[in-house]
């Protein structure tokens, strides 16, 4: 049977494709590759910290390693992966459209992204050593290739903005007849909220990078106190983008979880509207809290109080989602297939990531914990335990649809067990390290912190083993996997109503929607 994979062949049929599915797959391959690269840098960082004193690499090399780990993971992986890869593939399918609103723009976006990636790679000639936050004045002075690197990220940012625009128009204009806003799958709500953030916030980081480059090349002095500039201004600009970017990273993953939990519980999602609105509420209030990264940076006391207060207002809509997912499982008929296990892992670790937030949002406790391993642990619990687990859930859930093959369930579960254990061993005791006062971004450390570091490093090996097995499974099953039926999990959203893999035009006839996608029947007791 003809499908989007075998309809046409050859490299150029991919590079010049206008098919949102192929574009999604291209994003997926590039981005997952960089996930592995970023992971290798992370492993090297952990390996160095096995011992307190530069036993493996110099401090300079270490600084480059942790910066590359951060930059790659944030800008080349966590931010783009779900919207650009899975979003491109599934947004049109989930709303009953044949493609996104502007397929050519979509192709242009993936090219821009590719160009950005090449530029970022070029910067590795003088590996950047500023940390992924590029704080001035250091970033304005270092000899590393900061200008090139932020240039690359700038291009990727443009690609993000265009993709976001494309999704917003698509979701507004191309919904199938009868697909009202409140019949949209929640994944779409997640992507929609994300796209809004991307359009508002990404230009700000773009401008910030332009200022930084101007500072480096022309020495203008926006951020240089000797010339009347202000180093804190950079932090304000940077976090004005990068705090909302945290929600860019998490909202789409939350969307995936909202799809998977009902399917594997055979039960309608609980509190649909609350989940949809809370995505928008998070997107909105996410813009009011950037200063919580700067409580000890030298802002005025009044600003500290303001930002602390609003930070707590984000906690509530986030909590609502978690409660609603759990309530969805109540009296369900729960199936523990791999996608569901990852979704449960998401909830489990995201609760820990979320509940450690108040320690950092409260002024008194943030002062000692800021810039220590407590923060490192906290954001790995939300980003890795949250977004990445959500991504793994989504990849296992949609793999049959994207490839037409089933994954090997046994291998997938072995991989999950290693990922789960490895993740907790690596990151949990970082909370303790932070409470004991270990600063982040340290290449060397007093020996009293070594025990925790050894545990973390061993954990990182377990985690890596799990991920290797998972990718082995992904690659092997492309050929060896059983053929996937159109709807292996019993999902009710539209992508499951078409063959696996879907034909190029998605739907031979545009479906007419009469119900929301979560209407699972109830069994009378």
């Amino acid at each position: 049977m003809k499908n989007y994979l075998n309809e046409t062949r050859g490299l150029s049929s991919w590079i010049f494709t206008l098919d949102h599915k192929r574009i999604g797959i291209m994003y997926l391959c590039i981005i997952l590759f960089f996930f592995l690269v970023g992971g290798v840098f992370g492993l090297l960082v952990r390996l160095e910290l096995l011992r307190p004193n530069n036993w493996l690499m110099s401090s300079q090399t270490y600084n480059e390693m942790f910066t590359l780990h951060g930059v790659i993971m944030i800008f080349l992986f966590v931010i783009p992966i779900i919207p650009s890869a899975l979003g491109n593939f599934f947004v049109p399918l989930l709303i009953g459209a044949r493609d996104v609103a502007f397929p050519r723009l979509n192709l242009f976006s993936v090219w821009l992204f590719g160009a950005g990636v090449l530029v970022v790679i070029a910067s590795f000639s003088h590996p950047i050593d500023t940390g992924w936050t590029f704080y001035t004045p250091y970033s304005a002075r270092t000899a590393a290739a900061v200008t090139i690197l932020v240039g690359g990220i700038f291009l990727m940012g443009m690609s993000t903005i265009l993709t976001a625009l494309n999704f917003i128009v698509t979701i507004h204009r191309l919904r199938a007849p009868g697909m009202t806003w409140f019949r949209l799958p929640l994944f779409i709500w997640g992507i929609y909220a994300t796209s809004i953030i991307n359009i508002i916030a990404t230009p700000v980081v773009g401008m910030t990078f332009i200022l930084l480059v101007a500072e480096r090349i022309f020495g203008i002095g926006f951020f240089d106190p000797a010339k009347g500039g202000d180093p804190l201004l950079f932090q304000h600009f940077f976090w004005f983008y990068s705090h909302p970017a945290v929600y860019v990273m998490i909202l789409p993953a939350m969307g995936i979880i909202s799809e998977i939990i009902p399917v594997f519980s055979r039960k309608p999602i609980f509190g649909y509207k609350a989940i949809a609105y809370s995505s928008l509420a998070i997107a909105f209030s996410g813009f009011l809290v950037w200063g919580h990264h700067m409580f000890v940076a030298g802002m005025s006391n009044a600003a500290d109080i303001f930002f602390s207060f609003f930070t707590f207002s984000v906690a509530v809509p986030t909590g609502i989602k978690v409660f609603n997912w759990i309530a969805t499982m109540y009296k369900g008929s729960i199936h523990l297939d791999t996608p569901m296990i990852y979704a449960l892992t998401f909830i489990f670790s995201f609760i820990i990531g979320g509940l450690t937030g108040p320690f950092l949002g409260a002024l008194a406790t943030d002062v000692p914990l800021h810039d220590t391993y407590f923060v490192v642990a906290h954001f790995h619990y939300t980003m890795m335990g949250g977004t990445v687990m959500g991504l793994f859930a989504g990849l296992h859930y949609w793999y049959p649809k994207m490839t037409g093959k089933m994954l090997n369930e046994k291998t997938a579960k072995v991989a999950w067990a290693l990922v789960f254990v490895g993740f907790f061993v690596t990151f949990f005791n970082m909370f303790i390290l932070g409470m004991r006062g270990m600063p982040r971004r340290w290449a060397t450390y007093p020996p009293r912190f070594q025990t925790e570091h050894i545990i973390s490093t061993v954990g990182s090996w377990i985690l890596a083993a799990g991920i290797v097995i998972m990718f082995y499974n992904f690659i092997r099953c492309l050929k060896k996997g059983e053929k996937a039926p159109p709807n292996p999990w019993g999902g009710r959203t539209l992508e499951w109503q078409v063959p696996s893999p879907p034909p190029t035009e998605n739907f031979s006839e545009i479906p007419v929607i009469t119900d929301w996608p979560y209407s699972y029947p109830k069994r009378e007791e």
């Binding site: 000797a226 180093p231 804190l232 609980f270 008929s333 810039d371």
Partner: protein, 314 residues
């Protein structure tokens, strides 16, 4: 020494208060942790699909106003309480006691330089007496640094071109770590200093000896006096309360200044610094805009000295 939760021993009253906030948050979050994870695990076990059962849920409830009200209301109250408690303790952390001794700290790649009121300097080691409130005025000579005293639960970035501060009152004699938490380049993790807390009498003896045996350095305030004489500030400013072209400096430091714009500001380190470098930025009400800028003329450490001098004019 190793008391939970911050696991490295609280070295001051403020540190204990911070730990109490930590415990408070821990208790609240533990409640949410247990209820949510408990429900999650319980539901997975209880409602797991079993072979031979019809594969359908036994409920199709999709909303429940009451429940949703509870899980909006209860967390809202909880976070409000956390915010408020965290804020009150932090207020103490930011409010320096009146009688605090001041020590100037200049962070630079990759060391901390301390300067005592008598003008003496030391590197990577600073001594304070037990029970005495000490304020550290921080600034940086190059990039950002993070002045962090884990045992005292205090931390503040040192920013070039700006003054920030922390204060502490040590409860026990001992030697405590000072770290750098703001990434600052190759030597970042080696940027460690020591705070040595001494019994009061011993400290005073040590201080007198050091002052006497140190090479003749001017106390900071005296150095500042020399600077203002050299730069001609005293043509326009008096130190005895009389008004010349500009306002007097007597009792200026820490007072509230009414500006032409109608706002009032506190005359603190940053205010004086800006006044010297960029006098047009603000104007004191009732005075002409004639003060010249000293940018490019006055050095950074001289500004610090001038501030110390103005402070001494009580």
């Amino acid at each position: 020494m190793n008391n939970v939760p911050m696991a490295f021993g609280a070295a001051s009253h403020v540190a204990t208060e911070v730990d109490n906030v930590f415990i408070f948050i821990l208790v609240i979050t533990a409640f949410f942790f247990v209820t949510t994870q408990g429900a999650l695990i319980y539901f997975v076990i209880k409602y797991r699909h079993r072979k031979g059962q019809p594969d359908m849920a036994t409920s199709s409830v999709i909303t429940n106003r009451f429940l949703e009200g509870i899980w909006i209301g209860v967390p809202s109250l909880a976070v409000a309480a956390i915010f408020f408690y965290g804020y009150t303790v932090w207020e103490n952390m930011r409010t320096v006691p009146k009688n605090a001794e001041e020590i100037n700290v200049t962070a630079r790649q990759w060391l901390y330089q301390f300067q005592y009121p008598d003008g003496r300097k030391s590197i990577n080691e600073v001594r304070v007496p037990v029970g005495q409130a000490v304020k550290f005025n921080l600034t940086s000579a190059d990039v950002l640094h993070g002045f962090y005293l884990p045992a005292f639960r205090i931390k503040q970035d040192a920013v070039p071109g700006r003054y920030t501060y922390v204060w502490l009152r040590a409860a026990n004699p001992g030697s405590y770590d000072i770290f750098c938490t703001q990434y600052c380049g190759v030597g970042h993790s080696q940027m460690r200093a020591k705070l040595i807390v001494m019994p009061r009498a011993q400290y005073q003896q040590w201080y007198r000896q050091e002052t006497a045996s140190a090479e003749k350095v001017l106390p900071l305030a005296d150095e500042g006096k020399a600077v203002v004489q050299r730069l001609g500030c005293l043509a326009c400013h008096s130190t005895d309360g009389s008004v010349k072209v500009g306002p007097t400096w007597k009792n200026l430091y820490g007072s509230r200044v009414l500006l032409e714009s109608g706002k009032t500001v506190t005359a603190d380190d940053n205010y004086i610094r800006t006044k010297i470098l960029d006098p047009a930025a603000t104007t004191v009400k009732g005075f002409p805009k004639v003060m010249p800028t000293f940018k490019g003329i006055i050095k950074n450490n001289e500004i610090t000295a001038v501030i110390a001098y103005i402070k001494s004019l009580k």
